[in-house]
């Protein structure tokens, strides 16, 4: 039943992301003949941003907090005979599955519509893995922010973090594994024809750390 609740609270966001994602795929497919690689990279970056956005939105719903309900709605959920950990994991897993489903859908669409990807199955799969791992990291950070920020601050802080990453990446001050932007440009599997394992592992570790931190905060906090 918690799965159903999670879906009911995020279904419209997922629908919107599906709509925007479909638009991006179609635009990218139309531009593909004039710049295959650049278009694929642009596609990767934009889709990641949108899917991370989905993650941010779904993760913003804290355990027990409904999309439209207020304090009482959260109290109602928390008064059910369920642990906070289970509420958190169901909510998080639902968001992760929704994000992964959207990613898979776009990946298949891109595979079918972008000829440059169709010819390089391994590279396309590598790009997909990068997008998934980075989306999970962004999702986890956003989930953590949502435990102590309201929606306005969460969006501002997420935006600030994105700008910070861009600045650090542009000035080459990040460790290679953490340089997210480069995994879409110079380190993209579409360019290097290699899987950027260091970036994928770093992103997964980041996701695990932030998910664990979020769970700890949720279990300790007062509602």
């Amino acid at each position: 039943m918690l799965w159903l609740k999670a879906w009911m609270e995020t279904r419209w966001k997922v629908t919107w992301m599906l709509f925007f994602g479909a638009l991006i795929v179609l635009v990218a497919a139309r531009r593909a003949p004039t710049g295959l690689l650049a278009t694929s990279m642009m596609f990767s970056v934009v889709v990641t941003i949108f899917l991370a956005g989905t993650g941010i939105e779904t993760a913003s719903t804290r355990p027990g907090e409904s999309e439209k309900g207020g304090e009482g709605s959260r109290l109602f959920t928390l008064s059910l005979p369920v642990t906070r950990a289970r509420l958190f994991w169901v909510r998080t897993a639902a968001g992760v599955l929704e994000t992964a489903a959207l990613l898979s859908l776009f990946a298949v669409a891109a595979w079918l519509l972008l000829p440059s990807l169709a010819g390089n199955a391994n590279d396309a799969l590598g790009t997909f893995a990068v997008i998934v791992s980075l989306s999970m990291a962004v999702y986890a950070i956003s989930a953590c922010l949502s435990t102590f920020c309201d929606e306005g601050w969460r969006i501002r802080l997420s935006g600030l973090a994105a700008v910070g990453i861009y600045v650090l990446s542009a000035s080459r001050r990040l460790p290679p594994a953490m340089d997210i932007l480069q995994s879409f440009v110079s380190k993209s599997p579409l360019v290097t024809h290699r899987m950027p394992w260091d970036t994928i592992v770093a992103a997964c570790l980041l996701a695990v750390v932030f998910f664990a931190a979020t769970l700890m905060i949720i279990q300790k906090r007062d509602y």
Partner: protein, 301 residues
């Protein structure tokens, strides 16, 4: 005395510099209808939230059914046996009445369809209507249905009558009495609506600034507390307030109105020894007792 369902000892909780609970002690007997009284901000909601494991206390302990509420494992088991109605009656606005019943049912193995149907009919709740379209009164009834239908042994109701029209209040009060009588359910409800409490409670506690000022059986309290209306033949002595048992004295010329919490007989005798020409005893209302305690506490700061 019957076994206590809720036992609270020296509970303390602060939010920043504000002490919401300041050494609260409380015993709620099994099968009682327990009115938990206090002004807004007295600590009622904080207490209810702690009992449900929603907030953690800084010190002290609370047990329900003999199990510590701050043990996360025990808390899940406790919540399976409790029905809770929140102060603002918010639920999921995107669900229908039927949807939230179907959502809630699987969490409680002891869910009783007969009670569900009984309260759907009694409260005239339309199954297909969206929760977003329900009035506050209807949401109160729906929350009550969800709290009762799983055969809860204890109902924790936080300001259940707040903002409801008198007809709905009357219907809910009647049902609470029926539930307590028919099923032996313990009802712990916080309120600042004193007439509602006086109508159905058999036990009360008055809380102010996070401390229980008074706790006991309502009938006993009302018997213990009496108002003495006194007419003096001469100027009444100024030290009447010092007599043992005298809580407050109001003067109007040679007429006195004295609230006593004990020793009413000896106080009356002493008054006659002074200059009292007539001493009449009057019963007091819960409101008078409440205002006496909360008012005094407020003044003494």
């Amino acid at each position: 005395m019957s076994e206590a369902v809720i036992e609270i000892d020296g509970l303390r909780k602060s939010f920043g510099s504000h002490a919401a609970l300041d050494g609260l002690d409380l015993r709620v007997p099994a099968g009682s209808v327990f009115g938990f009284l206090g002004r807004n901000g007295a600590g009622k909601t904080t207490t209810s939230k702690h009992l449900l494991g929603l907030i953690k206390a800084d010190a002290g302990s609370a047990r329900i059914f003999g199990r510590a509420v701050d043990d996360p494992g025990a808390s899940v088991g406790i919540r399976r046996r409790i029905g809770f109605v929140t102060e603002d009656k918010d639920m999921y606005p995107y669900m229908t009445v039927d949807g939230i019943i179907r959502f809630t049912r699987p969490f409680f193995p002891g869910w009783r369809r007969d009670l569900e149907q009984r309260y759907l009919d009694l409260f005239d709740l339309p199954r297909s209507k969206s929760i977003a379209q329900l009035s506050k009164g209807m949401r109160s009834k729906l929350m009550m249905l969800l709290a009762i239908s799983h055969g809860a042994e204890l109902l924790i109701l936080d300001e259940p009558m707040d903002g409801l029209d008198p007809a709905v209040v009357e219907q809910l009060l009647r049902e609470l009495v029926t539930i307590a009588a028919d099923q032996g359910t313990t009802i712990f409800f916080s309120s600042h609506q004193l007439p509602d409490v006086e109508q159905i409670a058999d036990h009360v506690a008055i809380i102010d600034r996070g401390k229980a000022l008074l706790c006991g059986q309502l009938d006993t309290l009302k018997m213990r507390y009496q108002r003495l209306s006194v007419v003096c033949s001469d100027e009444p002595p100024s030290d009447i307030g010092r007599l043992d048992g005298v809580e407050s004295v109001r003067r109007n010329g040679r007429m006195l109105s004295i609230l006593v919490s004990r020793n009413a007989d000896s106080v009356a005798t002493r008054l006659r020894q002074f200059s009292a020409a007539a001493v009449e005893r009057c019963p007091v209302t819960l409101k008078e007792v409440f205002l006496e305690h909360v008012g005094n506490n407020q003044c003494s700061g």
